[in-house]
Amino acid sequence: MTGFLSILRRELRIALRRKGDVLNVLVFFVVIASLFPLGVGPEPNQLRAMAAGVAWIAALLAALLSLPRLFAADYADGTLEQMLVSPQPLAAVVLAKILAHWLLTGLPLVLVAPLIGLQYGMPAGAFGVLLAALLVGTPVLSLIGAAGSALTLGVRGGGALLGLLVLPLLVPVLVFGAGAVSAAMSGLDPSAHISLLGAFLAVSSLIGPWAACAALRVALD
């Protein structure tokens, strides 16, 4: 537990010394969301119908942008190898890194998301649902993404490969996350979607860290 907390603290401290990395992902999120109306036209009803999907796709892309850095620096300078041979269980290291990744990218995305809601003229009632869905769904991006990031560690063409590996696995997050908001906007109860999103979070919190640990052992073999 102390190892978990010290790694979490270290990750956050490193990130706060390079604030640009964190901010760039957020700006990227907003830029992607702002491009859609320019592409499909400013018709308000159309934009309102698209809002949730755009917010989620922008969140997926933003997460994808930050994921290659999850293990890369520690892999390059040998820190990861030291973590592997330390008495600390590798799972604690991986979980701390996943939590740090979510705190630094997932949570800020949740906080910026209302801006996208405003841009797309989302009704006020749906804001809370969008935030709740993002709050439950974004940790899945970090969990499954960590596995993809570990699998592509030190592999050539890692960035595009990471997208090919991770995005198909994240289809359920997109479906239920955007579905919750659509349901709320058409006057239906979104709680079923949020519950399913929570169920997927539970499943991915089992398989994500397991796969990431196994992949790190393979990469550092």
Binding site: A147, G157, P168, V171, G179, V218, D221
Partner: protein, 245 residues
């Protein structure tokens, strides 16, 4: 499992066996496919509602079956290799992936060709079509990951982890897409279930499915032999084989 069977887990022992099996499975695939196509084109009656266009299901349905089945078999071999550290298992998974991806593509392609005369459009965001498309992406990701890692042992283990995560996700993706589809009723066209399939149609489909099985085994074994030769090219037995040939 007895030790006699496990002996073939060594690439060197399996290589000649695979070579002997390939002609048998190829011939079976050819005979079954001819019989299946004969039933499909000459014996099966014209469908009352869909006309002649329905005959594409004799290719489409076996391809769709194989696409899903091969992914599970591939993940099984990959997981076995990861747990038991057998070299041949990883090679088997590598050999299966292109055949699985090919059948997934064929299922999508024939589905589109069938959709045009029947639904009036090549593509609808139907639950089955969408999850088949995601399955194709999973195959391509597996092949791409294996191709990107130069060390074969590392590639096998990384691919195995990905295949195992994928196989857990496939049912979740399928149900999520199905649910998403019912949510967006407007865009969907329901797959009209045939009331009861004529026995002769079912026969044709089963023959074609068996042919697809035999074809998959034959091509996988042939690809496996190539992979074994490539990876073991510095081994003594491969050199002996080369000098004998």
């Amino acid at each position: 499992m007895n030790s006699n069977l496990l002996r073939f887990a060594a690439p060197q022992a399996f290589f000649p066996i695979a070579g002997k099996l390939i002609p048998w499975f190829s011939v079976l695939a050819g005979v079954l496919a001819l019989a299946g196509l004969y039933v499909a084109f000459f014996l099966a009656p014209t469908d009352a509602t869909q006309g002649e266009a329905y005959r594409i299901i004799f290719i489409h349905v076996p391809a769709a079956w194989m696409s899903m089945f091969i992914y599970v078999v591939m993940a099984g071999w990959a997981g076995f290799g990861l747990a038991m550290n057998t070299r041949l298992s990883g090679m088997m998974a590598s050999a299966l992936a292109p055949t699985g991806a090919m059948f997934t593509f064929v299922a999508l392609w024939t589905g589109a060709l069938w959709g045009k005369p029947t639904w009036g459009t090549y593509w609808v965001w139907d639950a089955r079509l969408t999850s088949e498309l995601v399955l194709l992406f999973l195959y391509l990701g597996f092949i791409a990951l294996k191709g990107a890692i130069p060390d074969p042992a590392r590639a096998d283990r990384a691919g195995a982890i990905l295949a195992l995560v994928g196989v857990v996700n496939v049912p979740i993706i399928y149900f999520s897409v199905q649910w998403w589809n019912t949510l967006h009723q407007g865009a969907s066209v329901s797959l009209t279930r045939a009331p009861s399939m004529a026995a002769v149609m079912l026969l044709g489909m089963l023959l074609m499915a068996l042919a697809a099985w035999m074809y998959s085994i034959a091509t996988t074994l042939a690809r496996l032999r190539k992979i074994i030769l490539e990876r073991e090219r510095d081994a003594e037995w491969v050199r002996l084989q080369r000098s004998a040939a």
